[in-house]
């Protein structure tokens, strides 16, 4: 089973970091993974995006035209990748920065107000963690415990940040779970 | 004229004296015939370097880098391991050798087209990084190897095959003063200019070459000695006139002396208003 996803947002929103954490968690799970960034002029303004593939066997193409899941952190990202997602896939978008509905009806749509949730938790910088938690909740592409361990590891040198980021992560996860609970989901690998 | 001391010598002592070598071949120079023209001072400069390497006892751990220029075949003349560099890149090659094997004594032997024209970037950055190598820069104000074209160091008005009416400074700029240019860098270094057109100057040049290598052996700093040199063949004048030409035309424009020593302090100007 192979699962391809695109994570996209403004430069600085943490799209590349979210992608790396997903790839890292996948690797820790013993999966084959690849993480491929868009680079160059796109990184300055516009969207910064990366493609992550998590698979049971060696990853074929690291370049993906039709991903199974999209995490759109802002409107341009949704505009650009909305149509690319395979039918039956997942589109998770950040309603704090997207002022329209998702048009697709053949995918699982998960709207999450990542920035608003992070602000409410008193951690405005934690929007990316909210989004990551929500994406894991919506796709179940990697176990949440693996991602939590990763957050602890990432912020090991700044213990004060561990709890606030875990809070954001779990808030996002919970929000997404509530949203997808009871719906048909596309199968995720190894879950 | 003979001195009384010699007259009083015993025959045995006199015989011993005549057999004792007063002028030998430096160990750091191979006993081969060079390709240099009569009156060319490359041979003199080769010898100065070789004598200094012998004196410092570093021949067995010295690696030289020869340039593209008349001294392109210098690797045949020095009795050390040698590299032949591409045109102008000797300071980069020397950097590679020295960084790879810091225990080696590394010198480059370069001429004006090589160092002052195509290799200006390499020499400035090598000096600026403070690579602990020694550069011997032979300035004879002309491209010798390719047959007498204008060099960056060609004198104003000097006729060469590519400045048939004499170097026009309004078109070709003024001759580059390398010792001054390199000594303007803030990195500590030993930078000096000597000449080899008279015996007295040769003696002085030898001191400069010795100091330059000494600094390297002590692991102290980058060192560069510019030596004003002759090219009778391409200048088109006999050797003795070439020596006089150096004195008359080059020395006034290229002043001789030590431009920078590693302990020479900071040459940077003071901030405005604090004079």
């Amino acid at each position: 089973m192979q699962y391809e996803m695109v994570i996209a947002g403004f430069g600085g929103q943490g799209a590349l970091l979210i992608g790396k954490m997903l790839a890292y968690a996948g690797m820790k799970e013993g999966k084959e993974v690849s993480w491929f960034p868009s680079y160059g002029p796109e990184m300055r303004g516009g969207t910064a995006n990366c493609t992550v593939v998590i698979s049971d066997r060696p990853v074929g193409s690291p370049v993906v035209q039709r991903p199974r899941a999209l995490l759109a952190l802002n409107l341009p990202s949704l505009d650009r990748f909305e149509d690319a997602v395979r039918p039956g896939g997942v589109i998770l978008y950040n309603t704090s920065l997207v002022n329209r509905e998702c048009r697709r009806t053949d995918v699982v749509v998960v709207p999450v107000a990542a920035n608003d949730l992070a602000n409410a938790l008193g951690n405005p910088k934690g929007a990316n963690m909210v989004a990551l938690g929500a994406f894991v909740g919506a796709t179940e592409v990697v176990p949440m415990t693996q991602v939590e361990a990763l957050v602890r590891e990432t912020f090991a040198r700044k213990p004060a940040l561990v709890d606030v980021n875990l809070q954001c992560l779990q808030a996002g996860f919970g929000e997404a779970r509530r949203c997808v609970e009871g719906r048909d989901r596309p199968a995720a690998p190894g879950m | 004229m003979s001195s009384p001391a010699v007259l009083e010598e015993t025959p045995a002592a006199a015989s011993e004296r005549t057999r004792a070598p007063v002028f030998g071949h430096p160990e750091s120079l191979r006993q081969v015939i060079t390709h240099y023209c009569p009156g060319c001072t490359h041979g003199v400069i080769h010898r100065l370097i070789a004598e200094v390497l012998d004196e410092l006892g570093v021949r067995e751990r010295t690696v030289g880098v020869s340039p593209v220029g008349c001294a392109v075949l210098a690797y045949n003349y020095f009795n050390t391991d040698m590299h032949e560099a591409s045109h102008g890149r000797a300071p980069a090659v020397a950097t590679g050798i020295k960084r790879g094997r810091p225990d080696l004594v590394v010198f480059t032997y370069q001429e004006d087209g090589d160092l002052a024209s195509i290799g200006l970037s390499e020499i400035l950055h090598c000096a600026n990084r403070g690579e602990k190598v020694t550069v011997i820069f032979v300035n004879n104000a002309i491209y010798g190897m390719t047959g007498g074209q204008m060099a960056p160091t060609t004198m104003p008005g000097q006729v060469t095959t590519t400045s048939p009416l004499g170097r026009d400074v309004s078109l070709a700029g003024h001759p580059l003063r390398i010792a001054e240019l390199v000594s303007a860098l803030r990195t500590p270094a030993f930078i000096a200019r000597g000449a080899v057109h008279t015996p007295l100057h040769v003696v002085e040049a030898r001191r400069l070459v010795r100091r330059a290598f000494q600094y390297q052996v002590e692991g102290c700093c980058f060192s560069l000695v510019e030596l004003l040199s002759t090219c009778p063949t391409n200048w088109g004048i006999p050797p003795h006139e070439a020596c006089a030409w150096v004195e008359k035309n080059m020395v006034p424009y290229y002043p001789l002396g030590v431009f920078k020593t590693p302990d020479g302090g900071d040459r940077a100007p003071r901030p405005l208003g604090r004079e």
Partner: protein, 362 residues
């Protein structure tokens, strides 16, 4: 050996260190800056030296010096920078100096752009600079393979006394994948000692003169014959390639290298699920090119399709391998565009269904 998630550039840099390289000379250029950045940080930790040169020209000449002094040394650059390095590459080939050069290709010609490309294939595999010389070229398709081939490149360089190039497209440099690296990868035990190196002459061996200048025509021709003999040996012993789905019959053989081969593989897997008979041939050594193996692999196929991020460079070697024995088709993208698996699959179907035009004679 723990798996680590590494960028291709980082993996290449770390692999060089594990292979005993303690010297790097380079000059920044996108998209390979992580290699000098990584090494400027890592080399001092292991007692090595990192020098940021004033230009690619100087960097490659520093390589010439260091390698001549007998130490393992690395540089990396991207297409325009590699062009500047060709001066010293030719000198190093002439003076028979072992170095490893990494080229993370970007789109050209000229300043071009910083996006991925495979447009330096001809420059890399046909010598690159002036004079009759060749440089072994290795084209990895994954981050792990990039690391492995980098380590191996040092051995190949030392064994044959030649510069070796690791040729990656921009994707290899920028993507992250899990990598396993040995703590230390010692040089192969059978490598010849570097008695030719300039380490200071004590009279116990011939004087070392690192040089590519031979004034006499006969001597220079003899030197060239010696180099060609060496290249023949390399062609005999160092051909590397990989095949997928070679068992059973296939109608179409796809030829691609680097990450493009991975795109092709994904496309082929999808087509095979639909019952299409397609196989993949992936050269790993681009010089020496596995001509014979490719010709043998093409015997089963009715047609051959070459995929490249260029206007058709490796295509020339494929045609050299196959002659007129099989129709050869081509699909390439330039300018930094990638080939997507869907695009690749569409072209394969076109060829299979006879809707593609064979590459015309040049």
């Amino acid at each position: 050996m723990a798996r680590k998630l590494m960028k291709g550039t980082e993996a290449i840099a770390e692999a060089a260190i594990r292979a005993g390289c303690r010297l790097f000379f380079g000059y920044p250029i996108t998209p390979q800056n992580e290699i000098p950045e990584y090494l400027s940080h890592r080399l001092p930790q292991v007692g090595g030296t990192y020098v940021q040169a004033e230009s690619e020209v100087a960097a490659s000449n520093m390589l010439y010096g260091a390698s001549g002094a007998g130490v393992r040394v690395l540089t990396s650059s991207s297409s325009p920078g590699i062009s500047l390095m060709q001066e010293a590459v030719s000198y190093m080939a002439g003076a028979e100096l072992p170095v490893v050069i990494v080229n993370i290709m970007r789109a050209g010609p000229g300043l071009g752009g910083i996006l991925p490309s495979q447009a330096d294939y001809l420059q890399a595999t046909k010598g690159g600079g002036h004079g009759d010389y060749r440089v072994p070229v290795l084209g990895p398709w994954s981050v792990q393979e990039a690391a492995n081939l980098t380590m191996e490149a040092f051995d190949i360089a030392d064994r044959y006394r030649t510069p070796v190039m690791v040729l990656g497209d921009g994707l290899i440099g920028q993507m992250m994948e899990p990598v396993e690296l040995p703590d230390e990868r010692p040089p192969a035990p059978d490598l010849p000692p570097k008695t030719w190196a300039s380490t200071g002459w004590k009279g116990d061996r011939p004087r070392a003169v690192i040089n590519s200048l031979y004034l006499d025509a006969d001597t220079l021709e003899a030197h060239n014959r010696h180099l060609q003999q060496k290249y023949r040996q390399i062609r005999e012993r160092e051909r590397r390639f990989q095949m997928r789905f070679e068992e059973g019959d296939y109608d179409l053989l796809v030829v691609a290298y680097g990450t493009v081969a991975r795109v092709a593989l994904s496309a082929i897997e999808e087509l095979r699920e639909q019952g299409r008979r397609v196989a993949l041939f992936r050269p790993i050594s681009l010089y020496p090119y596995p001509y014979r193996e490719l010709a043998a692999a093409a015997e089963k196929a009715r047609a051959v399709l070459v995929l490249e991020l260029s206007a058709g460079q490796m295509l020339e070697d494929v045609r050299l391998a196959l002659g007129r024995s099989r129709p050869v088709h081509f699909h390439g993208r330039t300018g930094g565009h990638l080939i997507s698996p869907e695009e690749a699959a569409n072209r394969m179907v076109e060829v299979l269904e006879g809707r593609s035009q064979e590459v015309a004679d040049v």
